[in-house]
Symmetry: C2
Amino acid sequence: MTIGIVGIGLMGGSFAKALKKYRLSSKILGYDHNLEHQKTAINLGLVDEICDLDTLKKCDLIVLSIPVDGIIAFSKELDDIGENTTIMDFGSTKELIVKNIPSNIRANFVAAHPMTGTEKFGPLAAIDGLYENKIVVLCDTHENTSYHLGKVLNIFNTIEMKIIQMDAKEHDIHACYMSHLPHAVSYALANTVMSHENPNEIITLAAGGFRDMSRIAKSSPNMWCDIFRQNRQNLLDSLNIYESKLALLKEMLQNEDYENIHRFMAKANTLHDILK
Amino acid sequence: MTIGIVGIGLMGGSFAKALKKYRLSSKILGYDHNLEHQKTAINLGLVDEICDLDTLKKCDLIVLSIPVDGIIAFSKELDDIGENTTIMDFGSTKELIVKNIPSNIRANFVAAHPMTGTEKFGPLAAIDGLYENKIVVLCDTHENTSYHLGKVLNIFNTIEMKIIQMDAKEHDIHACYMSHLPHAVSYALANTVMSHENPNEIITLAAGGFRDMSRIAKSSPNMWCDIFRQNRQNLLDSLNIYESKLALLKEMLQNEDYENIHRFMAKANTLHDILK
C-alpha cells in the first residue's frame, strides 16, 4: 500500500514513523509546500520520497495532516482521485470539514481526529509512539463505503489506537471541552503573565503547576487560529460557562466565603474520579 | 541535629526522605495530629519517631509543613522554644505568616517556600527527589540571625536546592502568578467540564493537554482554601487581569478578528522564550 502524507509535521511525521514501525506501507510519499520541511522529512527518513500532486492522487491512502482550513481547501484538489483511493484527515474539528468535502469523494474521505499531540510542530517534532494506545475519533462514518472505512480501521487497529466513532457535531463539542477551551485558557494565562511589568522575574518561580498550565500556550498560532475559526460557536459557548465559573470563584473570594470556595474545590476534585 | 517535622504529608514526608538521603539529621521526629498519618509515616520509615509538643520544641530544627493558616496558629505554640532552636515553614504564602510570627521567636523563624510539589497529599504521596534542583524562596531573612539562617541555608544547599531570597510581599505576588492563579484557573476548568450534562462522555476524549490543564485541580481544598485566604488580594488582582485577557479573546472571536487572535497566540508563545 502506498501512503501519501500531506503535511509532514509533528502529526504527519509521527504517523509516518508508526506506519514504518508496523510495516503498513510499501512506500510513504510526502507532500508539503514547505521546502525546508520536505528536506528535513527526507533527511530524517520520515518519508521515502517527496511527490507532486499527480503522484499523490495515485496513492492507496492520502493522509491530510495540515491545519483544518487547509484540509477543506485541499480536498477540492483531490476531487478527481480514483475510486480506490482513500483519504483521511487528522483535523481537530470535524463538522465543517465533513460538510465541505466534495460530494463525489465524500465516500472516500474518512474524517479522523487522533487525540494526541504535543505543543511542538514541524518534522523535527515527529516522535515514535505518538499514536499508540491513544484515542482516535472517526466521525460520520456512515458516509463512507466499507472499503474505505475498513482500510482506515485496519491501520488504526494495527498501530494500536483506540477507535471511537461519533457524530461530527458531537465530536466538536467534546473536543472543544477537552482541547480547544483548554488551549484558550492556557493562551490567556500565558498572556496574563506576559503583561506583567516584569515577567522574567516572576517566571523565576515557575514550578510544575505553571509549566503544565502554560505548556499548550506554546502551540502554533497558524494551526490554532484555524481551529478556533472552525469551532467558533462551541468555543464561545464553553468560554461563557468557563467565565461564569471564574466569576463565581472571584465573587466568593470577594465575599470571603471560604466554605463555598472549599466546596468549589472539592467539586473540581471529583473530575479525577472519572478521569483515569 | 534532631529535626522535627510538623505535618508528615507530601512536602514534610518528601523532605524527611531528602534529609535521610543527605544524612543531615541524627534523628527525625514527626508531629502530626492525624493518627493515620503518624502510623503511615512510621511504617514508611519517613520519620524515626512520633513525638509530643514538648519533645518537638527541643529539636534543633522544626519544619512546619502544614497549611498556611495552621503555620500561623502553630507558631504561637512555639513561642517558648530555646534560642538555638530554628523553625522554618514551607507555606505557599509569606506576607501574613512573617507578620504573625510571635516577635520573641521572629529571629528563629526562617520563612521558606520550596517551589515544588505534586497534586497529591498525605504521607503516601512522599517521594524521593522532590526538592533536588528545585527553587526555594527565603523571605525577609534580614529578620533572622545568621545562626538560624545559616542552618537553613546549609540544609537547602546540601539537598541541592536553588536558593532565592525575596521580600515576602513580592514573593506573594510572584507566587500568585506562578501558582495560585494557575490553581484557580485549573479548578474553574475542571468545574466547567463537571457542569456539563455528561462529563463522563466528554472525558473519553481527554488527551495530554486537558490532563495537564486539570492536574492541579486535584489539589487539596483544605490546603488551597488557606492559601487563597492568605493571598486573597493578589489573587483577586491577578484574576481581574486574567479575566480581561479571556474577555479580549472572546471579543475577538465574536468579531471573527482572526488576525488579532493570531497575534494574541503569538504573544502567548513568547512566554516560552523566557520559560526555560
